[in-house]
């Protein structure tokens, strides 16, 4: 165990810091500290351009292997990249689903052809992806998806029909990966397929859903005989569950460190507000701010532990199993702290009809952290069953 970075890594830090300070200027200046949690609907066009700017500098997909066009950065360098990115106040990444989920999934499970076809667009910052997992009947019980896919021999295409819901940024995306049933008679984890689907086609209909914040970041996505090519299924038909789960494993990767730096920015804002309005002298607020700081520090150490050492044979280690539950609960508490620090002023909107301040958006948005990506309750089931070997929840089988 050691904490310091090598001099080579420190050189890398200087390089990315310099690049950001040279490039996060002019038209991009307004994006500073924007597009994070609760603010994801803001400046989509400008942020897409920023993705391309990053790509020109070689700063997208830094953790991908070089053979697939990535930068091949070590874990340490990815840590540094994320730290410096957030420190500079660079905007929330529009491309994070493609870079963090689609890409690693294709690199691990995709065909050579799929890699050729899809990875360059992600690296260039041109193609944005969204995640088509949840459905009205399949939330926590993801294996209950009922969207169907069948192969049309004549057209030589997969035909997809069904509905996805809560699909973040579907309205900004070029592609969606879809978990759908390839065997119509199958149940639960069996008989699923994992598809790569172009959004721009007449048979896909995207309808925004207004959120608690009054803005639309997620959507319903309707598939009415939507199509994708024969080669656009990852893995074999019937094997989609394994791919879908493999992908969720990537969700707990290095990107969490960037997220932590955003959390740090939020906490800094709260501290500034507390000092400005005097609530930093309130002993209860002092305790809670310190507690938030302590939680964030420990979160960082915990993810360093997750990322160090590697080699865990695909099994999530104990510290990785508990990570989502910890950060989601921490972030929810931070939202409450933000409001309590602001006291009566917390209620007052930026402007009518319903324009929230940044702190208000954050406060409302954090209520979703304990829901998406596996609710806190589902996390606790997983921890108890996989981490502690306690008995599994029973699934009721309906006899029809």
């Amino acid at each position: 165990m050691k904490l310091s970075f090598s001099s080579e890594d420190e050189k890398f830090r200087a390089e990315i810091a310099q690049w950001l300070s040279d490039n996060l200027v002019g038209e991009f200046e307004q994006l500073k500290f924007r597009g994070g949690p609760g603010d994801e609907h803001m400046f989509p066009e400008e942020r897409k351009k920023w993705e391309q700017k990053l790509a020109q500098g070689g700063w997208t997909c830094v953790g991908w292997p070089t053979e697939y066009g990535g930068r091949g950065c070590s874990i340490e360098q990815q840590v540094i990249f994320n730290e410096e990115y957030a420190r500079a106040g660079a905007p929330g990444r529009m491309g994070h689903i493609g870079e963090g989920l689609t890409g690693p999934t294709l690199i691990a499970f995709g065909s050579e052809e799929q890699k050729q076809k899809y990875l360059p667009g992600i690296i260039a910052g041109n193609d944005l992806w969204c995640q088509g997992y949840s459905e009205p009947g399949a939330g926590s019980d993801l294996a209950n998806v009922s969207t169907k896919a069948h192969f049309d021999q004549e057209k030589g295409k997969w035909i997809i029909t069904g509905q996805k819901v809560w699909t973040s940024l579907a309205h900004e995306s070029d592609y969606i990966f879809v978990l759908a049933r390839t065997d119509p008679d199958s149940k639960a984890h069996k008989g699923l397929g994992f598809f790569l689907v172009k959004m721009d086609q007449p048979n896909i209909d995207v309808r925004g859903i207004k959120q608690i914040t009054g803005t639309c970041e997620f959507n319903e996505v309707f598939f009415d005989e939507a199509q994708c090519d024969a080669q656009d299924i990852v893995g074999e038909p019937g094997n989609g569950w394994a791919i879908a789960m493999g992908l969720l494993g990537f969700e707990r990767g290095v990107s969490t460190l960037g997220q932590q730096m955003q959390f740090q920015n939020e906490l800094n804002q709260i501290i500034t507000a507390a000092k400005a309005n005097g609530s930093h002298q309130d002993p209860v607020i002092r305790q809670r701010i310190a507690d938030a700081h302590i939680g964030l520090k420990i979160m960082r150490y915990n993810s360093m532990r997750m990322l160090s050492g590697g080699g865990n044979n695909g099994e999530l280690r104990q510290e990785a199993l508990i990570y989502k539950l910890f950060w989601a609960s921490w972030h929810r508490d931070l939202g409450e702290l933000a409001m309590d620090v602001l006291k009566a002023e917390a209620e007052i909107l930026e402007s009518a009809p319903y324009n929230l301040t940044r702190m208000q958006s954050m406060y409302l948005f954090v209520r979703s952290d304990t829901i998406y990506g596996g609710t806190n309750e589902i996390q606790r089931n997983i921890i108890a069953e996989r981490g502690l070997g306690m008995p599994k929840e029973q699934r009721l089988i309906k006899n029809s």
Binding site: F5, I322, N381
Partner: protein, 385 residues
């Protein structure tokens, strides 16, 4: 940056686990805790002569093994897990740390080598009865007399204070307060004028004492560090000890989780194991979450401690890491221990089951060197003032 164990560190962990599983059984704990001394002499001798654990992080030039604070934390975690009754924490984490941080070359030569060689015991006395753990805790008074010094005052809550061979004591000059005027001395416990009394405690696995100094004459050579300027050193010693306690707490938090999972899997009600009830699973999941993040906190703090001892990082970083770890680990251990009683039902409330021993240790170690509220306020000062 590397944040996982080396093979050697893994070996130390395994060795500690198997050694303590054999040595610190429930029976052994219970017989040790029922004595005034609080530990078994043979056990202590085994630790010192067979395992050489007391020498872990003491530099080689004083007969130590010269390993790091991470190795020490690994052992402490295991000691907490097995509720080892021994003067290890007082001797190594208070005594030896004090010598390493503040001792003169002669003092190190003399005392550190005796600790390494045959397990000389030592402890740190700085707290009065005011229940404070920072500089204001120091209320004993010292003044120069002849070539040496004259020290008077009463210390309370001194770990193993009634049994330690050697005492490291803090005192302040008259009419000083706060960080000013504090000095550190090392003195044989049997020096005349020192009266030591065992203070029976709710947590019987760790002993405390009251020590009264009644105009005790100290030689000039007893002084550690600079006269009246010892607070920074004392603070560093306390921070190092704080991290050690946090490491023990993680072991305890893990143990009560293990006991609870084991028990609820076996216990059957309503025709099923109670571990199959979701309310029980979720409580256990929360216990595991606390334990794992607490563990991350101590490994990090131990790294910082190591870097401080090798003069690599600033002392303020040490204070922060110590407070982060102690605040989180104190709460986690205590919550886990309380939950463990709940998950055991009626048997958790008995003297016979071990859960109460951990519950009581959780509280005593939470208080020792400042509870979580105290450490959060220390962090708040860094952030807000």
């Amino acid at each position: 940056m590397e944040f996982s164990f080396t093979d050697e560190q893994k070996m130390i962990q395994d060795t500690a686990q198997s050694f303590l599983a054999e040595l610190s059984t429930s029976n052994a704990i219970r017989s040790a805790m029922n004595t005034e001394q609080g530990f078994d002499n043979d056990t202590w001798q085994k630790i010192c002569s067979q395992m050489y654990w007391q020498a872990t992080h003491i530099p080689e030039e004083y007969g130590g093994m010269g390993l790091g604070y991470v190795e020490l934390a690994i052992m402490l975690e295991k000691m907490g897990q097995h509720l080892l009754c021994s003067p290890f924490l007082s001797t190594v984490c208070f005594g030896a740390n004090a010598l390493i941080v503040a001792g003169s070359e002669e003092q190190k030569q003399q005392y550190l080598s005796q600790i390494c060689e045959y397990g000389l015991t030592a402890t740190l006395a700085y707290t009065s009865s005011n229940g404070i753990w920072d500089a204001e805790a120091v209320q004993a008074v010292v003044k120069p007399q002849g070539d040496g010094y004259l020290l008077s005052g009463t210390y309370r809550y001194v770990l193993d204070g009634h049994t330690a061979d050697t005492l490291i004591v803090a005192a302040r000059s008259e009419k000083t307060q706060g960080d000013d005027g504090i000095s550190l001395f090392i003195v044989e416990a049997n020096t005349s004028g020192i009266k030591r009394t065992w203070l029976p405690t709710m947590d019987q696995t760790r002993k405390q004492a009251e020590i009264v100094f009644n105009e005790v004459e100290l030689k000039a050579t007893a002084l550690m560090g600079e006269y009246q300027r010892a607070w920074p050193a004392l603070k560093q010693i306390i921070d190092l000890a704080t991290i050690a306690i946090a490491a023990e707490q993680v072991g305890g938090a893990q143990k009560v989780l293990d006991l609870s999972v084991e028990y609820t899997k076996e216990r059957v009600q309503f025709g099923r194991s109670v571990a199959s009830f979701q309310a029980v699973k979720h409580q256990a999941a929360d216990m595991m979450m606390r334990t794992e993040v607490a563990r991350s906190a101590i490994y990090y703090a131990a790294c910082v401690a190591q870097e401080v001892l090798s003069n690599c990082v600033s002392l303020s970083e040490l204070s922060e890491a110590a407070s982060v770890a102690k605040a989180y680990c104190s709460d986690s251990y205590f919550k886990n221990a309380g939950d463990a009683i709940q998950l055991h039902g009626g048997v958790g409330f008995t003297w016979e089951y071990d859960v109460h021993l951990y519950f009581k240790r959780a509280k005593s170690s939470e208080v020792l060197l400042g509870n979580s509220a105290f450490h959060r306020e220390r962090v708040a000062k860094l952030l807000l003032d």
